[in-house]
């Protein structure tokens, strides 16, 4: 059983729900990313580590700016995996790389599967990899005990939900609405409907993300899903901080607030 599956099984046993924070690797720098992972691990079920990309078409302005800050430092996947490996020495929290496909493709998919396993990465989510194209990559990752996480959206047809259910492992990420990442005042009612549709096809835990920024939204998602993902609101805390140390303490405080509901 993968570390992600184990973590969710334990959560379910304890009758608890999960919290999945997202941060962009290298924002504000990789050393702080390691500290943020360790800090977030105290509240998180799984941590999503964003791989910065020049053309982040699924992301709203907050995460776009984080990607730009990270890219200016000129590191790549090798350094992100090193950071992940260093964090792994300090925590057992599952880490999921959240990436666009091109940086992974240029790095080399087989090499990535091998090195990600060494670095203690537990899952990879590729925003722009359609399930039809994912078979070979999923098999490579499976051989290295890494879960391939898929996104589904309110617009996903039953046929596609079934296809994702066949290929996914770890958990399924349900996007709460159409559009890009970013905080919203109201959560859409569509996401609850989507989660119940996903459950018709898969027994995997379902996490809901996109637009969640407040404790009451997290609590609401916990009514019907297994975990809530918070990205832009956390990245926004990092952006507001005047120093790396302040970023870590702000994010820790904010994470505890989010799960207090």
């Amino acid at each position: 059983m993968s570390r992600i599956a184990e973590t969710f099984a334990r959560l379910r046993q304890d009758g608890k729900k999960g919290f999945i924070p997202f941060i962009t690797a290298g924002d504000p720098n990789l050393e702080t990313t390691r500290e943020l992972i360790v800090e977030l691990a105290r509240a998180a079920t799984v941590i999503e580590l964003g791989v910065p990309f020049s053309d982040p078409m699924a992301d709203g302005p907050v995460i776009q700016r984080a990607s730009e800050r990270a890219l200016r430092q000129g590191f790549g996947l090798t350094e992100i995996l090193q950071t992940s490996a260093e964090a792994r020495k300090q925590t057992r929290v599952p880490i999921v790389l959240f990436s666009y496909f091109n940086p992974l493709l240029q790095f080399g998919l087989e090499k990535l599967a091998r090195e990600a396993e060494h670095a203690g990465v537990d899952g990879i989510l590729v925003t722009d990899l359609a399930p039809e194209e994912a078979g070979r990559f999923a098999a490579m990752l499976r051989a290295h005990e890494i879960d391939l996480i898929f996104l589904v959206a309110p617009t996903s047809t039953d046929e596609r939900l079934r296809m994702v259910a066949e290929r996914a492992s770890g958990f399924i990420y349900a996007v709460s609405r159409t559009g890009v990442t970013g905080a919203r005042a109201e959560m859409s009612v569509e996401s609850e409907k989507l989660v119940s549709r996903v459950r018709k096809f898969s027994d995997l835990p379902v996490a809901v993300g996109f637009g969640i920024s407040k404790p009451d939204q997290v609590a609401d998602v916990w009514r019907y899903a297994d975990a809530a993902v918070v990205g832009s609101a956390i990245v926004g805390e990092i952006e507001k901080a005047q120093s790396a140390a302040e970023a870590v303490s702000r994010v820790g405080r904010f994470a505890r607030l989010l799960i207090s509901g």
Partner: protein
């Protein structure tokens, strides 16, 4: 799959072209396939060459080519010089240039000042 202007880490490069339709770091997969199969030879021309061809075709034929198509005209001018007079050369003007008048006026106008 297609060709993309990118660095070794897979980050997409920023681009420049005087024509909006070419100012993009990738190419349609059909072109990538035609390139790989060797059926089409792809080449490039500069902004200035395209602008020159745009003006030449407008003046000599009264046909205003799109700036994208003006690139083809510019390359055709180079190829034609190597050809025999009885040989025929066809240019596909994929778009009209009245949409580009403002861009050309800006560029050519500033060069004439």
């Amino acid at each position: 799959m297609s060709y993309v202007l990118q660095d070794e880490r897979g980050q997409i490069a920023t681009t420049h072209s005087i024509s909006a339709g070419l100012d993009y770091p990738s190419i349609g997969p059909e072109h990538a396939f035609l390139h790989d199969s060797g059926r089409v030879e792809y080449t490039s021309v500069s902004d200035d060459e395209a602008l020159g061809a745009f003006q030449m075709l407008s003046k000599l034929e009264g046909i205003i080519p799109a700036l994208e198509s003006a690139h083809a005209v510019a390359h055709a001018l180079k190829v034609a010089r190597e050809m025999k007079s009885e040989q025929v050369l066809i240019i596909n003007l994929s778009g009209r240039g009245d949409k580009d008048i403002d861009t050309v006026r800006e560029q050519v106008g500033s060069a004439n000042k």
